[in-house]
Symmetry: C2
Subunit: 280 residues, 2 copies
């Protein structure tokens, strides 16, 4: 494992950590101010959300690279399954935005259970079919698609993939190297089979997301912990991810409406850097 | 599979479905009134919670059997791991209460992560050690101990077992036939490996709990769905449980603070029977 006790070049900020950084929401900083704040602190990358980018994808991407950082990814495609699934046009648009931004990876939260069905079989079939329709476009755009399995509490309306194994099985079904997965400790920390699944994943790990699972998690979506404040074994998970061959960014993504989103963004960023150096 | 289109003798009510049926809480019925209401509707069994029993365990157990039903189980031991773990005395007391009630099975929700640790290793070691100290007492009392894996959203403060596989691995560690597991659809419906784990479990399945996973689950603990209102494939899960050899009760356990607990208990019980006949 690389020694990150000093070097934070592998550290990337997901803007959700600052309450999505939209105007009037969370930090409310412009992308430019956010980029400067990350550069000053030695971050190596930033991951934006589509709603923050608008029509300025190319401009923002250039600004990140001019500051010496990388756009590490883009969150995220529309849902591809379930009641709230987005259109193929929206899916293509999200791939195009990632390309314009210079984001090498576009994250996929799959969406939930197909209307009128129970279990996961039909939903996963539709997911595979929809992905297969977009892999050529993604390849041409130079954008890899990362399926993110979610904690099983998000079954029903948000995901039909719950474990790294689920995501890999879906990758196998589609069978295209443009499709891999993102590993988020919030979603997978509890999985005893994680090590063997990550070894199976190998080069198909396109992203690694950091936060912590709080002992008392009070809200399913918006009560993530800062690294070191929870019960996830961050060292073991990172070791397994890197043993599988992953050498990309460690993307900090702390949804925390009642705690970290209430703090000054400078304090949040300083804390992210300090925790990355000491507990990740 | 047995034909339950008419016969509801396999149907058991977990009193949590009526808001725990404590005075001033949920239905607020006495155990006697609850027993009569279940008998009238053809239930085959009842599962109580310790707090409802007080010092009347033997009396209530007799009353259930006099009505032609079975005490199908007792909820539950104290936590055995984590910050909120109970004492060995309390654990023995819960076994004794189950014996006095005539409950053949006592459910275990393990408790969370051991203080000062991350990951699950230390917690599961302590869990195995504590269980091993109680198996002889449980055997002498004629009470089997059923480890209930919980949905991974309950990691941290409630459980250190998340899947049937996790529970079986723990059973193997202790290695005593007095210890098995309980399968609750709310906790395991999402698990693609469930079928193979249940086949491995075989005769170690001591309980099967029914409810449904709502497409929009708004509260981690108290927003369970009535069977047929959610996205779990209840037919497939029951088939797998029975294929593994389980022939015990189907225990309906619907924690639903905002919905079913607000309805008249008679309506809830009638609905349970109707849904059991039609969708389970």
């Amino acid at each position: 494992m690389r020694d990150f006790s000093q070097d934070t070049s592998a550290l990337a900020l997901n803007t959700a950590t600052l309450g999505h950084n939209l105007e009037g929401h969370g930090a409310g900083w412009s992308p430019e101010r956010l980029i400067d704040a990350c550069t000053e602190r030695g971050f190596g990358g930033i991951v934006f959300w589509r709603r923050e980018i608008g029509t300025r994808a190319a401009q923002i991407g250039e600004r990140v690279r001019a500051a010496g950082m990388a756009v590490a990814g883009l969150c995220r495609t529309p849902y591809l399954t379930g009641r709230d699934a987005g259109s193929d046009d929206e899916m293509r648009g999200s791939i195009d935005m990632a390309a314009a931004l210079g984001a090498p990876v576009l994250t996929i939260v799959t969406g939930g259970t197909e209307p009128g069905t129970t279990g996961l079989g039909e939903s996963r079939k539709r997911l595979a079919d929809r992905l297969a329709r977009h892999v050529e476009h993604a390849r041409a755009a130079g954008v890899r698609l990362a399926l993110e399995p979610l904690n099983p509490m998000f079954g029903g309306n948000r995901t039909c993939l719950f474990t790294v194994r689920d995501a890999l099985d879906l990758c196998d079904t589609v069978g295209d190297p443009q499709i891999g997965l993102a590993v988020d400790v919030y979603h997978v920390w509890w999985d005893r089979t994680l090590g063997e699944s990550l070894a199976r994943a190998g080069g198909r790990i396109f992203g690694y997301h950091l936060c912590d699972w709080l002992e008392d998690t009070r809200h399913m979506l918006l009560d993530r912990g800062m690294m070191g404040d929870g019960v996830a074994d961050l060292g073991a998970i990172r070791a397994a991810v890197e043993a599988a061959g992953y050498a990309g960014h460690c993307e900090v993504e702390v949804f925390s409406a009642a705690d970290w989103w209430q703090r000054p963004p400078e304090v949040v960023l300083d804390t992210v850097v300090e925790r990355f150096r000491t507990v990740c």
